[in-house]
Structures are given as structure tokens and as C-alpha cells.
């Protein structure tokens, strides 16, 4: 838990470092994704051991283990009412699970390649998924039918995310491009990045939908203003050359960018100043996924195969 680097810009309150609270060892293989629910009561983790686990966010006890996929799970997403979890798996399906009783409610079939990323829209009546078949698919939650297929990229799709009013979708891919799509018609509205190298490993809208946080496999995180097509902030210091590491915004106590890294640490940067504030050490393999609790100062992180744990970090009061 080394404190962050040298020059810290003047802050309103002195930065309170995060420390390790608990290590959760429920998975028998690499953990691929970890996410807090929108109401903050639960935490879900997905793993290459083909299962997902739902924990209570307060006690960190395991509540449900979701079994059903026949191959490893790469990504998961919570519905806005925190009632359902959708998982994306290498068995080319997505499954919608009821988080209250651990049952699989629906299976969404249609992709012809490993499903790699998934997200609900804010209204949670649609799910968007990206897969190794280079397409995005939009699914109707109620009926499970695929409503639209978008031929989005020329390489596996690594990341998909709806904007806060559900009107547009951002997608990132190994083909190096990051594109924005109209959710209602499937039309491509904008291409943000179109270099062949480096691959775009992650893309996500800011909470107010004005900016997109994009991670590329050259150790770089950028915050783009997609209307102008220019990036405003650049965050570096971590290692990201190989894996699709997720990053996120931390807004509960000051504004930070949080990301995992291939040097086994969780990095926190000040959003405005771009300087690294803290580096959380403890994992024994690449930290592939991070998630911030919606209201508390809590971060969850997930480690790959040599680690297999979910670690919970909190700020001291």
C-alpha cells in the first residue's frame, strides 16, 4: 500500500490512502470481472472457473454461486435495479441471473464467438454484448431475443457501454478502433480512434455521458471528449500491454481514475491532475478488473490465474 508519487497538487483534504480490508477466495481459477451493484448492497465476481459469485457488499459473505455456463465467464453486468446480473461467457452465450435467488432466468444465444463484454442500458430493458465474432448484439431483456446485430469491428470486441440515457453505445476492439453507435438504429455515429495499433482494450462513458475513458494496450488511459474528438487527459504509470483491464471513475470522495495493471497493482490517479495518487499492492497476478462502490469509499479488484482472489480495499475514516 505504498503511497503515491512525489508531487501532489494542493487538495482540499489530505488524501486518505486505501488499505486492504479483505481477500475473497471463492474462485478456483482466474477472476475475470468484479462489479458492485448500483444500489451498493452486493458485489458480483465472474471467473474462468465457469461460475459467478454474488457477495453481500457489507459483510462480504458469499450469498449465491451462479452455476450454469459451460465455459469460463469473461464479463458481468448488473441491471439498474440491482435485481439481475448478466454474464458473458466463452460458451458463446449470455445468461441473465436473478440476484435474489441465484437462478438463471434466461440464456441469450446468437453470438458465434466467445462473448467478451456485456452491459445493461440504464433502463435495463436492453443488453448490449460484444464478442469474438466481431459483432455487437443488442438483446431485449424481457424476451431474450436479439434485437439487433451490429457488424462493428474487424477484430474481437473488447468493451461495450451504454451512455446514461441509453441512446448511444461505445465499443472498443482489438482492431484499434473505438466507435460510437446509435442504439436505436445501429448506425455508426462516430469513430473516435482508428489507428490499427494499439488495440483498444476498454471504453466507458463518464457518469454524465460527456466523456469516454479509453484504455489502449500501450500502457495508456485517455479521457476523451467524444463530441470534439479530442482527448483531454492522459494517465500513465501502469502496465497494460496484453490484457483487457477495466478501469473506472471513483467519485465518492474526490474524483479519481482507478485501474488495474499487469504489474499486479491497482492504480489510482487524480482525475484533474493526472498524477498517480496511490498504488495498491497485494495481488500476485495481473489485476484485471476494478470496481468502485457507488456510495462508500470501497474498491474491489480481481486477479488473474496466479492470484484468483477478489480483494476489497477501503479508506480509513
Amino acid at each position: 500500500m505504498a503511497a503515491g508519487g512525489g508531487n501532489q497538487p494542493p487538495q482540499i483534504a489530505p488524501y486518505r490512502p486505501y488499505r486492504l480490508l479483505r481477500t475473497l477466495t471463492g474462485h478456483s481459477r482466474a477472476v475475470s470481472c468484479v462489479k458492485f451493484s448500483y444500489d451498493g448492497t452486493s458485489l458480483a465476481s465472474a471467473s474462468l472457473d465457469k461460475t459467478l459469485i454474488i457477495y453481500s457488499s457489507a459483510t462480504l459473505d458469499t450469498i449465491w454461486r451462479l452455476v450454469g455456463h459451460s465455459e469460463g465467464v469473461s464479463d458481468l453486468a448488473w441491471s439498474s435495479d440491482s435485481h439481475y446480473v448478466c454474464s458473458a461467457s466463452d460458451d458463446r452465450t449470455l445468461r441473465i441471473w436473478d440476484a435474489h435467488n441465484g437462478e438463471c432466468v434466461k440464456t441469450l444465444k446468437g453470438h458465434s464467438g466467445f462473448v467478451f463484454c456485456v452491459n445493461f442500458n440504464p433502463q435495463s430493458n436492453l443488453i448490449v454484448s460484444g464478442a469474438f465474432d466481431y459483432t455487437l448484439r443488442i438483446w431485449d431483456v424481457k424476451t431474450g431475443k436479439c434485437v439487433r446485430v451490429i457488424e462493428a469491428h474487424s477484430d474481437p470486441v473488447t468493451s461495450v457501454h451504454f451512455i446514461r440515457d441509453g441512446s448511444i453505445i461505445v465499443s472498443g476492439s482489438h482492431d484499434g478502433s473505438c466507435k460510437i453507435w446509435d442504439a436505436a438504429t445501429g448506425a455508426c455515429l462516430k469513430t473516435l480512434i482508428d489507428d490499427k495499433v494499439p488495440a483498444v482494450s476498454f471504453a466507458k462513458f463518464s457518469p454524465n455521458g460527456k466523456f469516454i475513458l479509453v484504455a489502449t494496450l500501450n500502457d495508456t488511459l485517455k479521457l476523451w471528449n467524444y463530441s470534439t474528438g479530442k482527448f483531454l487527459k492522459l494517465y500513465t504509470g501502469h502496465v497494460n500491454r496484453q490484457y483487457c483491464i477495466t478501469s473506472t471513475f471513483s467519485v465518492t470522495n474526490g474524483k479519481y481514475i482507478v485501474s488495474g495493471s499487469e504489474d499486479n497493482c491497482v492504480y489510482l490517479w487524480d482525475l484533474q491532475g493526472k498524477n498517480m495518487i496511490q498504488k495498491l499492492e497485494g495481488h500476485s497476478d495481473t489485476v484485471i478488473s476494478v470496481s468502485c462502490h457507488p456510495t462508500e469509499n470501497k474498491i474491489a479488484s480481481a486477479g488473474l490465474d496466479k492470484d484468483r482472489t477478489v480483494k476489497i480495499w477501503v479508506q480509513d475514516a
Binding site: T107, K109, G110, N121, N125, V141, C146, C188, L189, P207
Partner: protein, 563 residues
Amino acid sequence: MNATIIDPLQGDFPEVIEEYLEHGIMKCIAFNRRGTLLAAGCADGSCVIWDFETRGIAKELRDSDHVAPITSVCWSKDGHYLLASATDKSLTLWNVSSGKNVARATLQQTTLHARLHPSSSAPSICLACPLSSAPILVDLNTGNTTVLPVSVSVAGPSTVSHSRNKFADGSSPFTPTAATFSKYGDLIYVGNSKGEILIMDYQNKHVHGMVSVQGGAVIKSMVFSRNGQYLLTNSNDRTIRVFENLLPSKGGVKALEEVSETLGCELEVVEKAKMVGSKCLVLSREFQDSVNRSHWKAPCFSGDGEWVVGALASKGEHKIYIWGKAGNLVKILEGPKEALTDLAWHPVHPIVASVSLAGFVYIWAKDYTENWSAFAPDFKELEENEEYEEREDEFDMMPETEKVKEEDVNEDEEVDILAFGKDSAFSDSDLSQEELCFLPAIPSPDVPEQQEKCLGSSSKLEGSTPSGSPLSEEAGQNEQEVNPGSSLFEAVGNSAAEEVATNGRVKRRRKPSEKVLELQADKGRKPSTKKKCAGKQSKNKNKSGAQENGTGELDEYVTDERN
């Protein structure tokens, strides 16, 4: 929507049928305030709420005791309630999220158009326009009814409950009238059978002003634009008229009273009313079908008030006319040869929903055109040819200017990731209670048999042709044709195809992309725009010609149990 990169030309008009909704026989429709839900009243007395984003059914409002066909549906401003009028003379108020009937009133006559009061402070008041008599204000909670005056000489309202259609001025009871609330419900505009528009106070039903429509033809319906600035009337003389509303949205009553006062008391009542009326409404445009001289059905404004839309009221034809505000006819939408019963323009998008006599709701939208500048970050669409000036160092190995480019942006500027601006399209919200925009989408559980199937097949990653289907041979063959590149097709029917049956024959279809159309053309198949999906086969994979429509066309709903 707050996404600034969506094409600003959204304020346009629809051009083609995008898809159609089917559920029983629908008779009338209404969008909720944000256009996220579409309510449809059916011939069997139920109301169906469609989630407009997924084009699936979100809720069904049904009461087994009341099965009379619905004549009109109207949303409350906050979207929590839906008012439905039916041919059994009833008015029913439904709570949309709970699906329960919260109030009911029965009138003397069947209501043709019913509207809820726009203000949230009067949630149970509605204005009912019966088939052939004066409009009535109904309080759904108490059952009180107030018949509104239909001409200026009537001094005040008759507040006898359940009043028979008596008019103080002795005019014949069978005179159709139309009525609508002003934007905030402080005024009521009534159009009578003599072609007069009366402007009256909602509180005391006092008629302040009157406007005579030229020709004096019966006014069949009236509707305001969303911003309350224009009033549209549909008259028996086959003309749609648009009036500009000169009164302010808020404080209209006060303004009217001021005008009245300035005119003094010497004038005779009718004269005075006309003078006041002339300060309230001014005729702006008239729309007619000069070729066929047909009547109009369900005319209304677009969400932004820029376009006026009306349908020909002719049997056997489904034609929708769109005019610009300036009066020019911009488009005629022609649908399948079924008469049109109702029409609604989406509050925000250039989308029109029309109901045909057969009970289908057709959704018209803009034709999708590629936006070429979207395909690369530095593509820009040009209106006309531009002369390109080469830079001095354009062809240098390391051009100077490119090095400078990265530092253009001020990286130290504060970035706000949390604050979002108000949605300008809905800034007129005066809601005390939170608006209902969506109904929760609860995934309907997969049938267990399907679950086994999917477990089974997903374990075999090298796909095999599905077995056990009555069409399996054909399915097998067809799937070979379709081939691994089939991700190009929009696969809608997956193993949940059975769900179609349980949802009551809900059918949706997305407009195929260009590639799909091309491929289909190559393989000699035509995309069908209308297919009655009545097939309820248990293991339905590809719906081929074995069904009732017997067209032999291969349905492009390819399943995904493929290699």
C-alpha cells in the same frame, strides 16, 4: 437526448415503414410524454403498453368484466396513469405500473375522445367528448360531471350530475363537438357544430372569447401542439386549420380578463366574445386535399411543432400527409391498403405510428442513410468540393506540424464528469411526483426444456444441426446454405421462439441492414415486410413455407445453433 453527436437533423419527418406491432386488434394509440412507451387500446377492451425501445409489450391492462372496444387512450402528464374510453360509455383510469384500475365512470354516451387534465394538481379530472353532444368535464374520483357550454349565450355551466344533454339555448342535442385543454389546463377550448371555437375558463366555465371559423363547418377534433403555441382543428369542410395561440402559456386566464376589461361592457355579449377571441387565436394555415377533397382523420402536430400530419379518412387507403409549418406538403406516406383508424407522432423523434383497420400499428421512421463521416475520426462530410492546399511540409518524413498537434489541447483544464445538463426537450416539467418513463423489464423465464437444450448444445462447441424438429431436414439444409458467415443476418429467432406464442403473437422485426438486403437479393429471397406469424410450432427453427402463409419464402430468422 443529451448525446450531442446524434444527427441534429432529427427534427425531420419519417419516410418508410420501419416495422409493425401486432397484438390483437388495436384501435387507438397514444405516446407517453417522453415517447418511451406507446399505449394502445384494443377491440377486446384491454389496453396494451408497448416499450417503444424494445418494441415489445411492457404491460397489459385488462379487466375481465369490461370488454367493450376502446375508443381513445390518454396518458397523464407524469406517465403514471392511462385514461381509456370505451364503447360501453365508460371511462377507466388505470395505474400503469400496478396494472390496476383505479377509477371508473360511466356516462350517458360513449366518449370518442377523452383527455386527462394536464396539471398534476388535478389528477382525476378529464375532459370527455361524447359522440354527439357537448363536452363533459368528469371527476373520475367523485363521479361528478359538468357539461360545458357550447355557445356564447349560455351564461354558466349546468352542474347537475348525470345531466341529460340539455342546452340552455335549446340547440339540438345531437351536435358533435370537440374540446381540448390548454397546455397547463387553465383554459378549455371547445369547438362546436357551428364552426365556433369557444375559449373558456376551466375553473368557472365562463366563456371568455370566441373565434368563428370561416365557413362554419362542424369542428370534429382539436389539438394543441406540445408547446401550446398552435391549435389545430379538423372540420367537416375537409380542412385542417392551424391557429396561432396568442395567449401566454401561463396566466392565460388573467390575460383574457384584462382584454375583456379593456373592451368595456357596452358591447353585446357575442360581439365582445368575438373581439376577445380575435386576440387569442389567429388563423395561420389551412390544409386541404385539393385533389380528392377527402376528409381528414386524426390530424396532429409533430413533437416540435414543425410539421403537421393528417391521414386521409378513406376506406381501403392508408395515406398520411405531412406538411411543413409554412403550409407546403412535404410527404405522402402510403401504407398497406387498409383504412387508418388512428395516428400519433412521437414526441421527440421523427417517428409516426399509425393504426390500421386490421388492428396493426405501423411505425414509420426515417430511411437510414450512412453517415460517412462517422467511419474515421478525421473524416468530414463536405457540402461541395473544396480546394485542398498542401502544407509546405506535407511530404516531409517528419512533418513539423504533426508534432505540434498533440499539444493543442489544454490538458490542465478541469473536466467535469458528473454534472449533466437538463434535457431541453422536456424543460416544461412541472411535476411534483417523479415521472414514469419506463416499465421495469422483467426477463420472462426460459422454459426448462429450452434450458436443457442450450446446456446440451453449448457444450458441443462444434455445432451440430439441431435435431428433433419437424423441419429439421429443411433446417439442416438451410443452415448449410446460410453458412458461418451467417452472423451477417439479423438472427432474431433463437430457441426462445416459443416465447412468441406466450406473448400473444408479438412480432417484431428490425429493418435489415444493407448487407442483409444485398445477400438476400443474391440468394433470390425477398425480405417480407409483413408476415403474420401465427406459427406455434414447438421446436420452431426456420419458419419456412410449411405454414399458413405458404409463401415458401425463407424467414430470415435464423437460429443460432449453428456451427
